[in-house]
């Protein structure tokens, strides 16, 4: 535990990525395998199931720190992070030298579920009082959720790869999918040959960069393939050993949620892995994204929903064919393989096959392609994808070979109505905002946004929010309707679930309109107008 909290501190106390890698390699060198496995688990942002609620922890904290509950709550709202507040208020002044291992602490944490409330409390309070600040903080972090330590999956893989003396791509691949953090996982992760790999394991996704320059800067159009950039769930479809697995980009297994895709995938040959997009698609073509949202978040899908929102897997690429990893092949070659695989499946399937091929858009020159791109909104796509014909299927983002050439977002001038403190790094700053537009003489909320401002603007706004709070509702403050922001978003739909009657997609702050007063903000009517323009 001591070693892991020291690792955490080192990672937290440096902005240098090299120093972070050195610290992780050093940790892995000395850590017992079960500890190393759990460290990888937490550093990749995975978390334990939350067993005890925040309100209960705050109550215990007040009881065992001899502070009134209101003062504990004041401290929490000032610090903004419960794990940290607890450590600041009652951690022991010295680090306990005889403490156990990380995996031992995790076992104890998980064992809490078998205890009654009094026993849980005794256990937790005993940890608080016996551990020094650093370990107490970590224990609380594991108890209340994740660790958020500012280490990307790439950086973690770099450290493990360096420790194991293996290529980083191998480690990244092994870290994908579902695994249990135990001794055997760690040993397989760093072994030369991981033998019979888990058949469900997906490949790391290949990510595109946003195209900021003119497409002409990419050179000859003949070196590129253009496809529509669809707005669904980026996924990976795996067919191995007669079984099908569907992974989302968030590395969530979503196989059971799309039975129609599973049915279609049964015709794929064993040893096939496809990259693609899950999209809601009926007889008339693709449906708006919010229809897909009805399918997400439901573990079991009823017949009615299946007929109302049928989904399709639109294939973009092929990473494995005939059981062979073909990611190093040029895109053109992989595309040919992909076409023959999909065509073979469609040949043996019904007319309504739920497996289809992303269309390549032929254009004689960039101007003609730009013309095509202007159809994006009518087609319900976000723009175009540009793929270099000879590019391999990269691990992660590798600037230069894959570009997303998106259409310009919608923009609206809206007034800030509510603010809420952020999380992690921004936990003591108001960084999550709700914005509204005019509906008659009242402002109705239309969007929440928490990105788009720079640090200076955030702290300026934070000060303003604290001075102009009208009312507090728990962590949320309502503020004087005064500040106007230009919001950008990707899509807009009618919605019965929202008070405003509309739902916007990916809202973010484009800029702070110091030049506008609240009365200058847009009206709900003109925002709705944007829908009918589509």
């Amino acid at each position: 535990m001591k070693e892991f909290s020291r690792l955490y501190q080192t990672l937290d106390q440096t902005t240098s990525t090299n120093a972070k890698v050195v610290a992780m390699v050093e940790y892995f060198k000395h850590a017992p395998p079960p500890d190393a496995a759990w460290a990888v688990y937490f550093l990749s942002g995975k978390r334990l199931k939350r067993l005890i609620g925040a309100a209960k922890l705050r109550q215990w904290l007040a009881e065992c720190s001899d502070l009134p509950q209101w003062l504990v709550d004041d401290c929490y709202s000032s610090v903004g992070d419960l794990a940290e507040t607890i450590a600041l208020l009652i951690a022991s002044a010295t680090e306990n030298t005889t403490q156990g291992s990380l995996s031992g602490q995790v076992d104890e944490l998980r064992a809490l579920s078998k205890l009654d409330e009094t026993a849980q409390k005794n256990k937790v309070v005993q940890w608080w009082k016996s551990q020094g600040y650093a370990s107490c903080f970590i224990t609380n972090k594991l108890l209340t959720g994740g660790l958020r330590v500012g280490v990307s999956q790439l950086l973690l893989a770099r450290a493990v790869a360096q420790h194991a003396d293996l290529p980083r791509a191998v480690i990244l691949h092994r870290l994908m999918g579902d695994w249990t953090p135990d001794e055997s996982f760690w040993k397989t992760l760093i072994s030369e040959d991981d033998g019979a790999a888990d058949i469900s394991r997906p490949y790391p996704f290949c990510l595109a960069s946003p195209l900021e320059d003119e497409p002409q800067s990419l050179g000859e159009i003949s070196d590129w393939v253009a496809e529509w950039k669809w707005d669904g769930i980026r996924s990976q479809l795996i067919r191995r050993d007669g079984q099908t697995f569907l992974w989302s980009r968030g590395e969530e297994l979503i196989t059971t949620r799309f039975p129609e895709i599973v049915t279609a995938a049964a015709s794929l040959p064993d040893g096939t892995v496809l990259d693609g997009e899950v999209l809601p698609w009926n007889d008339h073509g693709v449906m708006p994204f919010n229809e897909l949202q009805r399918r997400i978040g439901r573990k079991t899908i009823g017949k009615k929903l299946l007929t109302e929102v049928p989904c399709v897997f639109l294939a973009y690429d092929c990473m494995e064919a005939g059981g062979v990893d073909i990611r190093e092949q040029p895109f053109k070659k992989r595309r040919t393989t992909l076409e023959s695989i999909i065509n073979a499946v469609r040949l043996v399937s019904s007319a309504d096959c739920r497996l289809s091929l992303s269309e390549c858009i032929d254009s004689p020159d960039w101007e003609a392609l730009a013309e095509k791109r202007s159809e994006s909104r009518q087609r319900l796509v976000e723009g175009l994808m540009l793929k270099q014909v000879s590019a391999p299927f990269h691990t992660g983002r590798n600037r230069g070979d894959y570009w997303k050439w998106k259409i310009d977002p919608y923009t609206v001038d809206a007034v800030m109505l509510y603010a809420q403190a952020g999380h992690g790094k921004r936990s003591n700053l108001y960084t999550d905002y709700t914005f509204g537009v005019w509906d008659g003489d009242t402002l109705v909320p239309i969007a929440k946004a928490y990105s788009g401002l720079d640090n200076k603007e955030i702290s300026q706004l934070d000060k303003w929010i604290r001075k102009h709070t009208v009312e507090r509702f728990g962590p949320v403050r309502s503020v004087t309707a005064e500040q106007v922001f230009e919001l950008a978003f990707e899509g807009i739909n009618l919605s019965t679930r929202h008070k405003s009657g509309i739902a916007v997609r990916f809202p973010r702050i484009a800029r702070w309109r110091h030049d506008l007063a609240a009365k200058d903000a847009d009206t709900l009517a003109c925002v709705k107008q944007m829908i009918s323009n589509d």
């Binding site: 502070l67 003062l71 004041d74 401290c75 940290e84 600041l88 790094k425 003591n428 000060k463």
Partner: protein, 343 residues
């Protein structure tokens, strides 16, 4: 001593547009607008401004005040503990333990005693006079860090952390730039570090003259040299450089592209504060009283009325009120919520 409670007299000290006014004595403590006679608690910018015709301050603060406000100010140095008369009141200065020459102001009138702390701390600091408890009826206290999450470790332990960090950067051949307030914190660090080394430290131009004043006052510190920016060839690998926080985002930092950065401040106790500023290391070292220091001092003064300045004292006031002490916030312009300034 009779309590001020229920008295018909106006309060002995009042927060006005000018500063902390004493009508009976005809002077203002730490004025921010034009006034005739002033008493200054210490040389930080939010307490010492060039707005008075006449200044009283502790002897050991005179050189610092002249450096800050100009040699031409009309200033009278006063011994700690020596009472003097202004108008109808008796005034005396008592060490506040905040920075060199920092004073609490004790004001006595008709058997009524008020004390204003200016800024203060209870922790040991080898670079300034130690805090002295002054019994009073009304205690006007700073409350910069008035929550129980603010508790300080002793300065020498923090200095040990700084030394360890400096040593690790010596091994890595990187400069370490430590941001400290130029008056007080920088010299406290230089003094505490003498327990570990006698190595030379480089100073930013703004810190250098103030450090000379401390040295002239007999404070034992590491040897220092001002950084000569004209010397483009000089390498600072493994060296410790002390600079004011304002230098952080400036072009001055370009001189040290490979530097590790650290910041000494009480605000560094909260992780989010450190991460938001992007420093590599935050050292929790403050020249203000922590939560325990505030509560202990209030109790030791025996005051029945407590007024607060600096910062958000809501929790402190509520707690004191629950203990039966008459407590409220006094609205002044001494640096408060803005967590950039710790003066």
């Amino acid at each position: 001593m009779s309590s001020f409670q229920g008295s018909a007299n106006p309060p002995l000290l009042q927060a006005t547009r000018r500063g902390l006014d004493c009508a009976a004595g005809g002077f203002t403590i730490d004025p921010y607008r034009q006034t005739d006679v002033s008493v200054i608690t210490h040389a930080h910018a939010d307490h010492a401004r060039k707005v008075a015709n006449k200044y009283y301050a502790a002897n050991s603060a005179v050189a610092l005040l002249k450096k800050r406000l100009g040699d031409d100010i009309n200033i009278q140095g006063v011994e700690f503990g020596e009472p003097f008369v202004l108008g109808n009141v008796t005034v005396s200065l008592h060490p506040a333990g905040h920075v060199l020459g920092s004073a609490q102001v004790r004001v006595e009138h008709n058997n009524e005693v008020w004390v204003f702390t200016g800024d203060f701390k209870r922790d040991y600091d080898p670079s300034c006079e130690a805090f002295e408890v002054v019994p009073c009826n009304t205690f006007i206290t700073e409350a910069t860090f008035a929550l129980p999450v603010y508790r300080w470790q002793p300065g020498h332990e923090i200095a040990a952390d700084i030394w360890q960090w400096w040593q690790s950067m010596q091994q890595a051949n990187r400069p370490c730039v430590l941001f400290c307030y130029g008056l007080g914190k920088a010299q406290r660090v230089l003094s505490e570090l003498t327990a570990f080394t006698d190595k030379q430290v480089y100073l930013h131009g703004a810190v250098n003259p103030l450090t000379d004043i401390y040295r002239n006052a007999g404070i034992n510190m590491l040897p220092t040299v001002p950084i000569d920016l004209r010397d483009k060839k000089k390498l600072y690998d493994g060296e410790l450089i002390i600079a004011p926080p304002g230098a952080g985002g400036s072009t001055w930092m370009r001189r040290f592209p490979d530097a590790a950065t650290g910041f000494c401040s009480g605000w560094m106790r909260i992780r989010g504060n450190r991460r938001r500023r992007g420093y590599d290391r935050g050292f929790v070292l403050s020249d203000h009283a922590d939560w325990d220091g505030l509560l202990r001092t209030i109790a030791e003064t025996g005051a029945s009325q407590v007024l607060t300045t600096h910062g958000q004292a809501g929790a402190l006031i509520r707690l004191l009120t629950e203990q039966g002490i008459n407590a409220r916030e006094l609205h002044t312009q001494y640096s408060g919520e803005g967590d950039e300034a710790e003066a």
